[in-house]
Symmetry: C4
Subunit: 192 residues, 4 copies
Amino acid sequence: MSRLEAFSDGVFAIAATLLILDVTATGSPLSAELLRIWPSYVAYAVTFITIGIVWINHGTVLSLVAQTDRTFLTLNILLLAVIAFVPFPTRLLAEHLFDEDAQAATLLYGITLVIGATIFTSLWFYGALHRRLLKPTADAHLVEGISRSYLPGPFLYLGGTLVALYSPMLSAAIFMAIAFFYLVEATVFARG
Amino acid sequence: MSRLEAFSDGVFAIAATLLILDVTATGSPLSAELLRIWPSYVAYAVTFITIGIVWINHGTVLSLVAQTDRTFLTLNILLLAVIAFVPFPTRLLAEHLFDEDAQAATLLYGITLVIGATIFTSLWFYGALHRRLLKPTADAHLVEGISRSYLPGPFLYLGGTLVALYSPMLSAAIFMAIAFFYLVEATVFARG
Amino acid sequence: MSRLEAFSDGVFAIAATLLILDVTATGSPLSAELLRIWPSYVAYAVTFITIGIVWINHGTVLSLVAQTDRTFLTLNILLLAVIAFVPFPTRLLAEHLFDEDAQAATLLYGITLVIGATIFTSLWFYGALHRRLLKPTADAHLVEGISRSYLPGPFLYLGGTLVALYSPMLSAAIFMAIAFFYLVEATVFARG
Amino acid sequence: MSRLEAFSDGVFAIAATLLILDVTATGSPLSAELLRIWPSYVAYAVTFITIGIVWINHGTVLSLVAQTDRTFLTLNILLLAVIAFVPFPTRLLAEHLFDEDAQAATLLYGITLVIGATIFTSLWFYGALHRRLLKPTADAHLVEGISRSYLPGPFLYLGGTLVALYSPMLSAAIFMAIAFFYLVEATVFARG
């Protein structure tokens, strides 16, 4: 399992760190420009935290799984492909939050998160249903608690995405709220 | 062996994650631009999965190898150099799939994969022939199955590349098909 | 703990290595341009060393901690978010050190380091106060020495930042001096 | 020692993989452009292999070292700072090999390698002299062989750099020759 973790950790860490490459300040004077681009900071922070949370949860999943199989590995690669994709919609969201392209940017950001959350939840339930891939020692209450915590994820993000059809700003605020909700949840189940 | 794995995992993970830096949307309106650049999404997904597969296979190889020698290490560095090169032809392929440079871009993408598959297959057969570097415990049937699975790789990619002389689009479709074929194969032999 | 370390190491290593992407030389002739951009080299070196130091100190903290909890994990993700943010103010500082935007760039660089140092010090004291998360074997003198060494960090960086209101150049020089001071401190407490 | 290795491996892998970001083809037609930029491919390959070799040698050094101290850690961070710097002169060398800035680019590339080789050799001799940091089990003949292999490094690169004053092309060819020489040497002493 350790190389699966190493590759996954690498993708999570790189995707999160690459986010900063899309924060740029080229206007003048710099002081005004640095204030003007505040959506970039918020998008950076919320997305970094979101990736950090998925990384924590991913670690929780792997710590409970005894073995992997072909479906699990395939789902994991698809999840990593979505995680590594995240810097792209994040950059667009930060750039376009206040112009006429806000809706397109928010929808892309939301759809990316819906797909990611759906794959992540599938990864967990594929391994956890009937304890298919779980360690015999995996505590049944913990497993159930995690299932309850992950299940609403795709629906929360889908809801936030649909809100973008009405108000991109509200949609972005909901994504932020979901990030903070899961930051709390993630740290409950994490075992160092 | 663990540092060889760490360095290799790092290069695989970084090369895969850097792919997203080449996905850009600068046209206006954004909604139309996001639909127009669909070849970028496909190129990103297929290439990410291809790198993921080579990573899985690379892990399978290393898990069966008991020791390394100078030739094995040299082949491994050459393989990583090709893997880290992949974002360049991928970017060109996504940019030029529908313009008059489609053939040049597809040929470069294909040639890169032919070279990569050739080095990878060489790495495996160098270690596996007469069980030169294999662990004594490496199962003979598994070793044979892997050899049968890897051998056609360079020829499949060479065929796909030659097709680009006739139709770049068909060539790109073949690379996609090979990726999905090997996704299935890779997960058969992977042992977590 | 090992995945926490792997993810953290990844972010530290990537943030430090990405710094070079912001060093560019496009003027002509190249020889004059390479001399003209010396602030880029200094900013690169000082920031790389600063990130290296925080990485060493972070390793010292984790080596003394027996377990983590939700607050510790959250502080750690916030710390990593700041570390991964550092290439942005570094790029601006190198670009603007000698133009009319020097103050804005130096302030942003300084504020980033103040926030980073504050989170890092909080991470340590959260774990070390009343030995909350420390290993039973963690030596009391070592713990006290580390506390004495980390505590001034946020104040040193705050002082250096405030100096930027008066002289950006002096402020940059102070950040350099703090880096060298902590390079010495960090290697005292590091245990391989 | 394992976190030192993880951070170092990360920097090596990232620096090597970032090299590809500087390979670009924007001219038209693409087929001609892809042939015209062949110096980029050579610079990419030689530099990737050079970083790979230093990584192999770095692994050899760490495998023989029993403990680290403050000087060793500081030298290691300085070495990593130089390794992470390498993509910058590589990009300039590939861009300017055939224009009037060839000499400046070759000199910068060479000076970077001289500094890197000097720090690396210092790192080794600091640890190996009087077996200061070596494991008791480190074989004396191996240690001596490594010392003999590393010592000429800075002088070889210095010679290649000075040649750039007379002929940048010849200088670049010498750097290529040194890379292949050390590829052979590195794999002799590497122990998987």
